[in-house]
Amino acid sequence: MKRKSELKKIQNITQPSKIVSADYNDPLLRELVAHLRQNRTQLREEWARRITEAQLLTAMSKEEIFSEATSVYDNYVEVLETGSVEALQAYARNLSERIIPRGVETHEVVGIVLLLRDVLARSLFKKYQADFDLLNRVLDAYEPAANRIANTVAVSFVQERERVIREQQEAIRELSTPVLQVRERLLILPIIGAIDPQRARQLTEQLLRGIRNNRAKVVVVDITGVPTIDQTVANHLVKTVEASRLMGASVIITGLSAEIAQTLVTIGVDLSKMNAVGDLQGGIEEAERLLAYKVITTSDANGTEAGS
């Protein structure tokens, strides 16, 4: 008997996954699940109490903790029974979706799962304390499954979190460089906030694509909202202007601050290539001139329509 258990342990080390799946037919595990089902109420309460004690999940109320604890507990026992973590994975993802916006941290989620593991292990110790050999074998069955559950929940939580972060990054990226058409063939590109090399690259890409998609001839890039730029970005800006010309569009830069103007002069930009106008209004007027638009107010035009 003892040798068999040792053999199992060795196998456990060498081929953990195979053993884990084989374990679910283990009568011991079934006994264990039955024990956990029987003591559901008491163990669940014990767990919820320990969570509150450890001051985890402070963002949630006591009732919420208890109801989440109940579903996690049931899921936990189910995984122990069936060995399939898929349902738990889905549940963990769903739970993460609900609790991440409420500011629950990774350590709290990992913490509560480890607490449950601890609570259950203690109850097993208590039940099997008389027979050390049996306890050993019960733990052999319990530990790998419990580890796998803790792993699954933590990974699901982190994955969900990363997904949220990725989505937000994407949103910021899209928001940061709008390309707006104000007239036929005239685009404006208002830039607000600091430009780092990565954003500069993305800006260029958006601008060049915007030129192609909107068939623009003139683009007004307004950098009033940019406090300062470094030399790399300044160079990048100049290159963007040149690349736009290659695509048949001219770029007007407006709202250059004194600092940025100084940077541009320091790096020795060829000013014949840069069409700079003081402010956005002036830039749009210059663009309209280039596109042969003429804006006439209706009172001046004596009944003729405004526009070109």
Binding site: T204, E205, L208, R209, I211, R212, R215, K217, K239, T240, E242, A243, S244, R245, L246, M247, G248, A249
Partner: protein, 125 residues
């Protein structure tokens, strides 16, 4: 692969169909030089829409063609440079100075038309 050159009124249109070797570019230069004289063309459009890469030799050759044709009495405009290509060219310092560029064939025609009417009105009264 040779570049087909189409005649359209006063203009010639060289529409590049595939990646060009250096020899093809030289051939294009020679053909355009000859046709401009033969048809007495006023403008030439070179369409590079299909090119994913325009290297230094191609850039130099396009510039040479433009300057050469100018001396033969025709304006040249390069059309259809793709966004990525445009930026890559600028990164490499290949900016086609002194050569007209336009978004696509249609824009190229408009560009040449406006350039030539200006020239005519200069000579006019």
């Amino acid at each position: 692969m040779q570049v087909p050159i189409l005649k359209q009124g006063d203009y010639l249109i060289a529409s590049i169909q595939s990646v060009l070797s250096d020899a093809d570019l030289l051939q294009l230069r020679d053909n355009l030089g000859e046709r401009v004289g033969k048809f007495r063309s006023k403008g030439v459009i070179i369409d590079v829409t299909v090119l994913d890469v325009i290297d230094s030799f191609a850039t130099r050759m396009l510039r040479t063609i433009a300057h050469m044709l100018k001396l033969r009495g025709a304006e040249t405009v390069i059309v259809g440079i793709q966004p990525d290509v445009a930026f890559a060219m600028v990164q490499l310092g290949l900016t086609l100075e002194g050569v007209g560029t336009a978004l696509d064939l249609e824009e190229g025609l408009i560009y040449l038309n406006s350039l030539l009417t200006k020239r005519i009105s200069h000579h006019g009264p």
